[in-house]
Symmetry: C2
């Protein structure tokens, strides 16, 4: 017989956590390693300790909250996600995965279950990458995909480094951030897309993730007075950027499963009556097929070159991160599918549109993910929402998947 988590308790914890770093429109702003992020982490550690976990923190600030198993020599089963948010982020993205892990511990306690393998909840540092690039930073260093020494130097827009903030906030732990053997890793997350809701399905059994490329593009023209410089003499990078962004969308639209986004654009100097000397913008492109993704990247590069050549601009095109497509472990995927089935929840296989810490962990340990629907498919927005019923179902599936892997 399948056991159940306490969905109400989990919902209540989610709402408590959402009080920290409130946004302007009902969401949250807890950028990585800000005081708000630390306040959230501290609350989590309090709750995990109260549930009997032993806390340790590594040199990237990743937090591991351990519940011992019958056999301490066995590799632990892990579950977690992140507590940091986008600047105008939601209450569930990441937080559900961490507090879902906490609910697993609380439910195991309730039912008096001692698993064979130990179980650890993990909070990965800076998944969003919104303050410090790149995203999935803590899990990236843990899995050896990123170099800690390099990452320490990364700066936010104010010139503060990751290492500065780890030290200032006391989050730089005493355990080296280094891979240890993991029996299985599960991450519960909102879908962040519209598929489950549209199909009225409760659980997404995540089989893998699409690849993504992040690009920084800077166009250099000639700053000049907006009133006195005839149009024909201008080398205006804002005009180049507008053309490139419009053409980028055409490239993306030629591939039915592709997405492309310009999330940030900045002019320099930003003055109403000055033609910008340069314009910086970001491009995020994704596709489930790696070959097509890299073709899109090439096409975009070509458009930048050709627009700049016709506008008399110089350009810099930097792929700042390339995340390959991901296929999750077949056993973990089957375990999630089986748990949803046994619990009587409607489910379907799904490919993740977003990157997740699970995509990094998948490189080094058997990994699976569980999605629940979110309202209107919205995420990375303060209006992000889901229901207590879906949260409850997701926690049930996570709990049973963990028990299946850890043994009881």
């Amino acid at each position: 017989m399948e056991i159940r988590a306490d969905g109400d308790r989990l919902w209540h914890s989610l709402m408590e956590m959402a009080k920290i770093g409130p946004g302007k429109h009902g969401g949250n702003c807890r950028l990585a390693l800000t005081d708000e992020d630390i306040e959230g982490r501290t609350l989590f550690q309090k709750w995990a300790s109260e549930a009997g976990c032993t806390i340790r923190r590594d040199t990237m600030g990743n937090i591991f909250a351990r519940r011992d198993g019958k056999n301490q020599d066995k590799d632990p089963v892990l579950s977690g996600s992140h507590l940091d948010t986008q600047p105008a982020g939601g209450r569930f993205d990441g937080i559900l995965g961490v507090l879902g892990g906490l609910e697993v511990v609380r439910s195991l306690n309730d039912h008096g279950i001692e698993t064979v393998s130990p179980f650890e909840i993990v909070v990965w540092t800076n998944e969003e990458g919104a303050r410090f690039p790149p995203s999935m930073m803590g899990s990236g260093v843990f899995t050896g995909i990123l170099e800690q020494d390099e990452i320490y130097k990364n700066q936010d827009t104010g010139g503060i480094t990751v290492e500065d903030e780890l030290l200032r906030t006391g989050q730089l732990g005493d355990v080296p951030c280094k891979l240890f053997p993991i029996k299985a890793y599960y991450e519960l997350h909102i879908e962040q897309g519209p598929v489950l809701e549209n199909e009225n399905t409760c659980i997404g059994v995540v089989t893998g993730g699409q690849g993504s490329v992040w690009t920084h593009i800077t166009l250099f023209g000639q700053g000049a007075h907006a009133g006195t410089t005839p149009m024909k003499y201008r080398r205006d990078p804002m005009m180049g950027a507008s053309r490139i962004i419009t053409e980028m969308r055409e490239i993306i639209r030629n591939h039915s499963e592709a997405v492309g986004t310009v999330g940030r654009l900045e002019t320099y100097p930003a003055s109403i009556n000055t033609i910008p000397g340069s314009v910086f913008f970001t491009v995020d492109t994704r596709h489930p097929n790696e070959e097509i993704l890299m073709q899109i990247n090439q096409d975009l590069k070509y458009v930048v070159k050709s627009v700049c050549s016709s506008e008399g601009l110089e350009s810099e095109f930097k792929n700042i991160s390339i995340n390959p497509t991901v296929e999750f472990n077949q056993d973990c995927v089957a375990t999630v599918r089986h748990s949803a089935d046994s619990l009587g929840y409607s489910h379907r296989d799904i490919v993740s549109g977003a990157g997740h810490d699970a995509c990094q962990v998948n490189h080094v340990a058997p990994t699976g993910m569980i999605f629940i629907p979110c309202e209107g498919g919205l995420s990375h927005d303060e209006a992000e929402n889901t229901t207590p019923e879906h949260v409850s179902a997701g926690a049930d599936v996570l709990l049973n998947s963990v028990i299946a892997s850890a043994g009881a």
Copy 2:
């Protein structure tokens, strides 16, 4: 016989002033009412006092440095401009007009000339409008075009008001900012465009200025996750902005003398992996014919509406300032032309592409302007440059125009 100013002295003063609030690339950053701006104003007041002027400051921080005439009851002749700069501005825009006025006083002293009418150098507060909108603020209130009570409340991007800064910096003077009778007003300025240089002409006799419209446009869409939201479900304001900006240029290009610029664009929230919920940008459009200018404004408004309708966006379109076209006083224009002629400098009539304090003063007093060439027509850029020879010629024309109007 025409007398001459001391061009070397003026050039030296310009270079001294340029040391205050240095930019990163050889230009200046002295945004209105910042500590740097105050340092520049203080230096000017020291120099003007040393040259025998009496200083007074009005409630908008405008500075008047007076050299008495033979007849104190006569309306004074004024000459000046501004000391504030763009965020990445040049060493001459505005400063030449103020220090040109100072050079008039110094030259009159050298030659022992007592003019019949008094002469006053004026420093107008916040001509650029780069920190606090609108531009030509000090001269705008002085001439009654702007309301001081309203202007006091205007904020910079940090929420600091004009009144706050006038008080903090001690620039809020004891004389009410109110028009007084002016016999004539002259302003010496770099052209900020390429015409004089291209035509190898030393002096521009400015007959008037083109009109300008400043517009704030905000597009509202739906913020969402960049990886998980299919293209067809998006309402992406960055895509709308790109299309509008590209189409704006087409409208502008349909009118040979028109110019149009997007100097600032901001996405919210500015995150690489989030579709922006809203995008804000500025548009500066200008044309020498007011009817055509307003037609362009209507066309732009229509493009915003139609693009937003096809992209599923909402929009806000606000004309934040409309500066009508300007025709300078025929006597002042003739005086400038005659001075250039008598001094043997090549000259041509020219329409100003930029707005100037002179355009405001022109509403209330006989006004003329003198342009000198600048390198590559560049301005509002740190690379802004001119030559000691042109500066010297400009000062000569200004000096002789002032003497002609003030009587000697």
